[in-house]
């Protein structure tokens, strides 16, 4: 079982990966985020109709991308450098079990480009390519 807290420096309320289901370093990661009704962002997005903000799906993919790295990210900095071709295909709600799937596309000069999909029960909710910069 992958140690999520050991790999990522993110913490509540911004840790957006609950567990890693499959992990082949440098090749592919499948992780999960279980959305509960108690997530802080549901308070205001929106008052009577909680929907996961789309940008957080991008952040989920970026955090899942952190598990492509062999070494823990504590003390290192990984930044989002570019968001490419992000498509939001459907909403996510409290109770959803989100599947975060990422794989690397290319890397050069400390930059890693990944492509990822957020899905729920086989439905793709968000696809995007992200450029991550390692310092």
């Amino acid at each position: 079982m992958t140690d999520v807290l050991g790999q990522l420096p993110h913490r509540f309320p911004f840790l957006l990966v609950d567990r890693v289901v499959e992990r082949e370093i440098g090749v592919r990661v499948v992780a999960e985020k279980l959305l509960t009704a108690g997530e802080p962002y549901f308070l205001g997005h929106f008052e009577d109709r909680p929907i996961l903000p789309g940008v957080l799906m991008i952040e989920m993919l970026a955090q899942a991308g952190g598990f492509l790295e062999a070494e823990p990210l504590h003390g290192k900095a990984i930044f989002l450098a570019q968001i490419l071709d992000a498509r939001f295909k459907g909403p996510a709600f409290p109770g959803d079990r989100l599947r975060l799937e990422v794989k690397p596309e290319a890397s050069f000069g400390g930059l890693l480009r990944i492509e990822g999909t957020v899905s729920c029960e086989g439905r793709a909710l968000c696809t995007a390519k992200l450029l991550l910069k390692k310092m």
């Binding site: 450098a81 570019q82 596309e105 290319a106 890397s107 050069f108 000069g109 400390g110 930059l111 480009r113 450029l131 910069k133």
Partner: protein, 85 residues
């Protein structure tokens, strides 16, 4: 301009979305990064992908890549040398 050099310049314009620019306007020996064409490290990764997909040439070694990215002439020579037969 050689056919390969023209294709390299066209690839640069298309991959980096240098809209309104023509191959003639890219200097053969001006630096691609920093001054000259003014590309940044994000563009470098885009070029690595473009070179791989357009010419079938992989750039895995960063030092070799940066040498090739010096200018259009060096990049054309690098691709000519590494292109699969």
């Amino acid at each position: 301009m050689s056919d390969l050099k023209l294709r390299v310049k066209t690839m640069i314009i298309e991959r980096l979305k240098l809209e309104g620019m023509t191959p003639d306007q890219i200097d053969d020996v001006a630096p691609l990064f920093g001054e000259g064409l003014g590309l940044d490290s994000i563009d470098a990764l885009e070029l690595v992908l473009g070179i791989e997909q357009t010419f079938g040439v992989k750039i895995e070694d960063e030092a070799a890549g940066m040498k090739a990215f010096k200018n259009v002439d060096s990049l054309t020579a690098f691709i000519a040398e590494h292109q699969p037969a």
